[in-house]
């Protein structure tokens, strides 16, 4: 429901001119450049890699849990590209190293036909809901490296979900598991007024957008 042509603000020219606006920037976003703001509403957990586990459960053929070492034995996969936070910053050309979520789903015997949605759980109890189609087909990763180094705790280390084509609150930090469901179940921010899907290119920020 974003109004199509907002009234100009007296005297505002903007730092980035519309003409040379980077085409990688979704509407309403700005380039955070070298900064990587931290936005989480909870205490950063003290979670050692040795204690980290990742579970795929719910509507899959063989629910299963991976340890750190078991997860690292899966084929490595990398995301290189951009990320977009609902608070308006975007970051270009980031590099996350980890494993494609497809490899974990395959390891759990694949989704059952009824599976349509997932809830991502963190080790802190944070949740985010996603359509299954948004985390399959090479569109989502479990990442433990950022720019070739271990992912810092405040950015979700030892491991986080990365779903770069949606606003970054969907990319649950301190990821603990995915539950596949036949129905949609709003997660933490979705229950707090945020949009259910969160596509940055459609500016799906808040419920009702």
């Amino acid at each position: 429901m974003t109004s199509p042509s907002p009234a100009p603000t007296r005297g505002f020219t903007g730092r980035a001119r519309a003409a040379d606006r980077d085409p990688r920037l979704p509407p309403g976003q700005y380039d955070a450049r070298d900064t990587w703001p931290v936005l989480s509403a909870e205490v950063t957990p003290d979670l050692a890699a040795a204690d980290w586990t990742f579970r795929v459960g719910g509507l899959v053929a063989r629910p299963r849990t991976w340890t750190w070492d078991e997860a690292h034995a899966l084929p490595a996969s990398e995301y290189r590209g951009d990320i977009h936070c609902v608070t308006s910053w975007s970051k270009f050309g980031v590099r996350f190293g980890g494993v494609s979520l497809d490899a974990f789903l395959a390891g759990a015997g694949g989704p059952l036909p009824a599976a349509k949605h997932v809830v991502a759980y963190s080790h802190t109890g944070y949740t985010a809901n996603l359509p299954l189609a948004d985390v399959t087909g090479g569109r989502a990763w479990i990442a433990w490296e950022y720019d070739g180094a271990p992912l810092p705790p405040e950015h979700g280390g030892p491991a986080r979900l990365v779903v770069p084509h949606l606003y970054f609150w969907k990319s649950a930090k301190w990821i603990a598991g995915l539950e596949l469901l036949d129905h949609d179940e709003p997660g933490f921010w979705e229950k707090n007024g945020y949009h259910h899907r969160g596509d940055p290119w459609r500016e799906e920020r808040y419920a009702g957008d």
Partner: protein, 254 residues
Amino acid sequence: MTDTSSGASVPPFVPPTAFAVPGRIAVSEQAAAHWQQALITRIHRETRAATTFRLKVPEWQGHLPGQHLMLRLTAADGYVAQRHYSLASAPDDSGEIELTVDHVPGGEVSGHLHTVAREGDTVEVRGPLSGFFAWPGDRPALLLGAGSGVVPLMSMIRHHRRAGLTVPLRLLVSARTREDLIYADEYGAETDVILTRSEGRLRAGHLAPLLGDGRPDGGWEAYICGSNGFAEHASRLLVDGGQPVDRIRIERFG
């Protein structure tokens, strides 16, 4: 660690720890999605870097202390910039709200507000947003803020006073110097001020009298707001002091 049971019969996965806590209130989807014109009725300088903007928002549906909004500026060619700002004012029926904005060097939106905006201008806002950091005034609240992070916490203090609440409320606010302290004249007995340039930063000793035996019945709901560095430091002190992690709410300004 491989389960062999079939998908359908497995109980829902429950994570081993639960830090995240539910939001305090339901958020109006309509208010959150709708951009409104806001008229700047008053600009009031708080400190050398922070300024309060009073906005008349005709269709404002009310808010709870701790909530924020999104503010949008539009250039003549259609370029827009939008940022989140916490509500500084207590909920009231004046039809006006207040924001307090720090002038970030080189900042696009805060720079415009501080150097170009004047009374009589309009900006656009949508909100209030997010129920997570909101405080309805129901539970004892321990507030820790630094710099402009005190803004949503001041909304809580103003609400507490205005509504004549008796539920315990304490604020620990840190600023670099007395001159950098936002709302300096407004703090009362509920507040301890920490001036970091002369006294150093928030320490366990500041919190000790409020934790342990100093806790009110039912314990505190803790609200931390400020930069990420402050939030990390303050939240660790609280956890070390025995505050349950699932009763700590954090708003990081980025």
